[in-house]
Symmetry: none
Subunit: 328 residues, 2 copies
DNA sequence: CACGTTTTGGCAATATTTTGCCAAAACGGT
DNA sequence: ACCGTTTTGGCAAAATATTGCCAAAACGTG
């Protein structure tokens, strides 16, 4: 199934927009992506669950010459043994019980396009050898087939694990590792790029409004504040899901912390009080100044003396802190 | 009675030393004094009680060509009517009951020297006309005398009052005012020149040690601090008297606030607490930082976030305020 | 209204604080 | 011991605070 070029552009721009969102670390990643897209090199994307690995893979695909061809995702975590091979290579009719007709595997489907292997670390060891052999020249047979099939594929793998540790533990083949990782791209967790959260919230609300045909509500600064304080173990996916949940049940034109589900708010049982240090200073100074003024019956020279500051500084601070005095 | 020139120099230098004491406002006054001393102009010294008006008059006298001749002080506040005239002009034998012999008045005694009229504002109005007439040519008769006496006098007057108000209230003659004030010199109160207090204390202690032949004790910073905070309504005279009182009864080699008499300390019943504003800031910030650290279990990044400062700034402040943390 | 004194606020120089950047040090795991 | 990651502290640039100086404004008095 080929995509039309106008659709490609639309999908590509939407994906990039969601991905980047004024976040500087994303900018440097996009730089690498733009360099990589034009070459048929295999990419390994690492990052915590929910950070947008698949989205990034799609962006690379859509930026590449293979954009018009299929993007075929495969989750390596749910298959094993023969079922994995069947999924990748397909089978011929009658190859085994239940093979009532020929079926193409993902390799074939991704021909001249991109194969995305999510959770590559979950690939069973017993399948890794065969898989590796195919990656060498992208020639394979279907199960129960005799004819060799040649395909052209860009491979993008993704994992949230440390593959090197698995290699060390003999859970992952080192040669396979080097084959799938020509270019590594690491996605940082959301808590490492909090500055993008307000824009993400805005964009996800836009998406929900379009998706559900409901007006887009605004968001209170308090809500944003809570989001900024949360660590987001589920990363962008968690934020997007939460926005969706809130959006669906919300019937007001503004979303505040009250609108948040209780299981989310549970993380804030003791709402971490912001203790803005500049505000702490201002409060303490204002209090001390007022007390000294009271003691001296608004004699500024005496007040400055008590506070051990110059009269000029006192005048400066009275103005800065907007403290009114009776003329002495 | 004429003074020897070596005595003049000694007295002069001692007086100037006591007077100036590294105080900038005194320096500018001394400039005027040095200009005035060489000319026979009348000087009016104003300033609060105890500020050293008589001392300054003596300095002018000692710096003038009249230094070898008498300096004759008169307090205008204790005499009135005939007694005032008798004091100034003297009397002949038999001039009145009790005038058993001739007596010279202050004018005669001050001949070729300096006449110092302290508290000139207290001069009774009924005496002002006669007095003014004498100031025009310094010719007068003793009471009960026939012969005119001519003297040469430098007149220095002093007051702690606003003579202009008295003129308006018809308590002081305006023409007399202009006669006695050719050059005005104003002495600031001690509270306006607190920076001189530590040195004054030191010098008065030196004087007392020499006067009473006792070792000179040192002084604690706390004592100086109290002195700096007191307003000294009695000015330098009050400070000097207090030092003398303390010195006499003191038997330690150091003087502290404990050494001060209770009637002086009465002014500090509620000891004005210094509220050093920099310390207020430091205390408030330290407290906030410690609380945030406790909340985050010494996670510096989280702490910085709570405090709304950069991690680098937190590190800076931990060092500045000497706050130790367990490594996270 | 005039005038001497006190207070105020603009300005600039100086001091201090904030904070990004980055290399070195420290840490933790293998 | 090696290595990738995190933390630390030096450095400098930028931001902010402090404060002396002084002319203008305000005040109080005559």
């Amino acid at each position: 199934m080929k995509l039309q070029s106008s659709n490609i552009k639309f999908l590509r721009d939407a994906a990039i927009q969601e991905f980047v969102l004024e976040c500087s670390s994303m900018h440097s990643i996009m730089k690498v992506v733009n360099q990589v897209a034009g070459f048929d090199v295999n990419v390994l994307i690492t990052g915590e669950s929910g950070t947008g690995k698949e989205l990034l893979a799609k962006i690379i695909h859509l930026l590449s010459p293979r954009a018009v061809n299929p993007f075929v995702p495969v989750n390596c975590g749910v298959l094993s043994g023969l079922m994995f091979e069947d999924k990748l290579f397909g089978h011929e009719k009658g190859a085994f019980t239940g093979a009532t007709r020929r079926k193409k595997g993902c390799f074939e489907m991704a021909h001249q396009g991109t194969l995305f292997l999510d959770e590559i670390s979950e690939l069973p060891v017993e399948n890794q050898v065969d898989f590796l052999r195919v990656l060498e020249d992208f020639r394979f047979r279907r199960i129960g087939g005799e004819k060799k099939i040649q395909v052209s594929i860009r491979l993008i793998s993704a994992t949230n694990k440390n593959l090197k540790s698995l290699i060390k533990a003999d859970s992952f083949r080192e040669d396979l590792f080097y084959r799938i990782q020509v270019v590594p791209i690491h996605l940082p967790p959301l808590r490492k790029r909090r500055e993008a959260i307000p824009k993400m919230v805005d964009q996800f609300l836009n998406q929900m409004a379009a998706k559900y045909k409901k007006p887009k509500p605004s968001v209170t600064p308090e809500l944003i504040n809570i989001f900024l304080r949360y660590d987001w173990p589920g990363n962008v996916r968690e934020l997007k899901n939460l926005i969706e949940r809130v959006f669906i049940v919300n019937d007001k034109d503004v979303i505040s912390p009250r609108s948040l589900p209780s299981d989310f708010l549970w993380h804030f049982q003791e709402p971490p009080q912001m203790m803005d240090l500049a505000q702490v200073r201002k409060t303490a100074e204002t209090k001390a100044i007022l007390e000294a003024l009271n003691r001296t019956e608004c004699d500024k020279e005496k007040t400055a003396r008590i506070l051990n500051i110059s009269p000029r500084t006192l005048r400066y601070k009275l103005l800065k802190f907007n403290i009114k005095t009776n003329r002495h």
